[in-house]
Symmetry: C2
Subunit: 435 residues, 2 copies
């Protein structure tokens, strides 16, 4: 039987994992595919540095993508070079050249997904991306196929392992963000430039991809509200614990009243909720479908082999179809529904809040703050006033009932402007109790 | 476009759910399928009792399966009549008649799966069964496709909602098994005859189906060790809690040294393990794959709509292929590997144990029991001896290190035979710490 030939663009951490799994699991992969499968060629801009634990043998290895894109014998192109523009061009060329494509590139899908899905449809080729969201967790399949009969009501994801590792360490050890970040970098859990991970951008990329699938609607990446974990303090975490909450960086999507809300931010969730138990570098996605009810998927969201596991799941699915003469199934791509959901303006989003203020210890301070909240239609659930933190400053913590984001923004600005409030000390963390 | 026509065999709880979802979600289903879909006929032995919330309208509804099996315009048969022999014959006939089949029948698959998979392969038809294991959780897809590049090392399932509800209630309220069972029956969480659920048979059915897929090997249902939860006492649960454990009914499959072990029994697991948090009627499946590492899937394991969600996931997948002219993908069936795994004899299984004995309070009792354990190569991790329970009887609880099941069986028999041990009081609960 004619072998299925795979071209690998990018031999970084995940690319090397994909090559390793091909060598170590070939027999099982071929049994599942129903045909031989082989790496046909590997391309990377770095062709000299040895990759740990990987021997490419006599496999063609160059820095020239044309060696893959121009080879008509290659059926499936795996794009693992990362970045946006170069990857976009390579994938478009591969599809136009009649190849099926597997990618783990969430940044690319989040910003140019619509173009790529349309191109794959037009070319009658498959574009698969299980590895783009939550690493080894087969969440893309679950949403596309397992939940096919559901309207998704809500989706909550812990989808960035770096942020979750840092928050878990801060929670367990009471340490500062900066210190834990350094440790995470030393252990390889955070990049040298961690901005995308700790500032929520990576989570927002994944939310865009998941929400496009789950809500069958076009989502503009720039419309997603994004806030990261770098401003969370050990004190926030300790206060949250006191009140029975954990702080997690959540990617949230909810639909209701014909509108969709999308946001990434640190979130207080009840300590006994299933998501609160997701620790360290693990990822989890919690979903509520109108037919199936609550579902949660948990596993390793990153790493060489977990991500390679998802890349191979896609290769096997495409290869199995090729082997049985069934190539193009355009419905497998994200479906943009006939009734696109409107994105809810962020000011209209409703949430409960934790409000932290460092105030000069004057008898009037609490009444001033609560007065501002009341004037902005925000009602108070509870107040915690702690002893002096340092000369003349006392932390005031207020938990609110559900309120409008726009109202809270106005209130926060007014509170910041109070002379009794220490400059720049007021901040909020959103609370989700329903999940 | 020619509509995809579905025949529904069985209009019980789940069957009615399948019909309801068809009515309520038709637009989305058709968008995902890429063609119209319609219920063509419904068959049930009871054609008179009204089904709550369901109006079949002018849909052909009879008690004659030939109305579906004999109708060449019907593409997909959904079997939801339950039971084994009649369902087996109907499915075989449907496949022979060129129809694709969707079933939720774990008892049938566990006992006659090999025959049905072979028939589907021979007929070039699809046989799908997402709803047979863990209700609404898309675990079958995850194992078949998401984990395609993995050798599965181990699998732990909480796959019977009735048992998990009962154990959760017993844990939360300290109540007796019999009392909680009655409550569960009153609330519809347990059948009038709960034997299959509480004695582990239903869990073993699901384990057979999952393990066949996950380990790509033939599994004889009768070779699975099965023990239910009916003998668990509030005292066992309280003692487990004292030592940091929860008791769950686990379906366990592990591979190693070329052999597979399969068992269903009440199991003590650490209270901080993800499975320990799975409460009430919820199900979860925890898996370890050699490439992806740990994964867990959580959701509703039963109920009209969650199960219907999985039935429709299968219908949509088959219908989408039919709509695009791609019907038969025989690799989608469980693959029996080229190297079938041997089943490990239960006596060779290794586990740690909780041993409970009600002993006459004599100074010699502990030395006699520990002597028997030692003579059978079982070493002791800890001993708890409580005060008198009733005149002259004292509970002795011993936690052992990992030992052979066969050795523990012999030791238990010898301990039962001690004159200082109250007749019939000695019992064990297995402990899993690794998961």
């Amino acid at each position: 039987m004619k072998p299925i030939r795979v071209g690998l663009l990018g031999l970084g951490t995940v690319g090397a994992g994909v090559a390793k799994v091909c060598a170590s699991h070939r027999e099982e992969l071929e049994e599942k595919i129903g045909a031989p499968v082989e790496l046909a060629a590997v391309v990377d801009k770095d062709t000299t540095t040895p990759r740990e634990g990987l021997d490419l043998g006599s496999l063609p290895f160059s820095d020239d993508p044309a060696k893959i894109l121009g080879d008509p014998s290659i059926d499936i192109v795996v794009e693992l070079i990362g970045g946006v523009e170069a990857a976009r061009e390579l994938i478009l060329k591969a599809l136009e050249g009649g190849k099926h494509v597997v990618t783990a590139n969430k940044a690319l899908l989040a910003t140019h997904g619509a173009e790529l899905y349309a191109k794959a449809r037009a070319c009658g080729r498959m574009l698969a991306f299980e590895a783009a969201v939550a690493g080894g967790i087969p969440i893309i399949r679950a949403v596309k196929e397992g939940l096919a009969a559901n309207r998704v009501n809500s989706l909550y994801g812990i989808v960035n392992g770096t942020s979750n590792y840092i928050l878990t360490k801060m929670t367990d050890e009471g340490s500062e963000f900066g210190q834990v970040l350094k440790e995470a970098q030393a252990r390889g859990y955070a990049e040298a430039d961690p901005t995308f991970d700790v500032e929520g951008v990576d989570s927002a990329h994944k939310l865009q991809v998941l929400a496009t699938l789950a809500f069958r609607t076009a989502v503009k990446f720039d419309d997603i509200y994004v806030e990261g974990v770098s401003k969370i303090t050990p004190q926030d975490i300790a206060l949250a614990r006191e009140m029975g909450f954990r702080i997690k960086l959540l990617a949230i999507a909810k639909s209701g009243d014909g509108a969709l809300e999308l946001r990434v931010h640190p979130t207080m969730i009840p300590e006994d909720s299933p998501m609160a138990a997701v620790s360290g570098v693990f990822n989890a996605v919690f979903m509520n479908g109108d037919v199936v009810g609550d579902l949660m998927f948990y596993g390793r969201g990153a790493g060489q082999l977990p991500t390679a596991s998802s890349v191979w799941a896609d290769i096997v699915e495409i290869a199995r179809r090729l082997a049985s003469g069934q190539a193009a199934v355009p419905q497998d791509l994200p479906i943009l529904g006939n009734k696109p959901l409107q994105l809810k303006p962020f000011a209209e989003v409703r949430s409960a809040y934790y409000l932290y203020v460092l105030a000069k210890d004057q008898p009037s301070v609490l009444s001033r703050i609560t007065g501002i909240l009341g004037a902005n239609d925000i009602s108070i659930a509870s107040v915690i006033q702690k002893g002096h933190q340092r000369s003349g400053a006392v932390p005031v913590v207020i938990m609110t009932h559900v309120a409008r984001e726009g109202d809270m923004g106005k209130a926060l600005q007014a509170i910041q402007g109070l002379p009794v409030v220490e400059s720049g000390s007021a901040r909020i963390i959103r609370i989700e109790e329903s999940e």
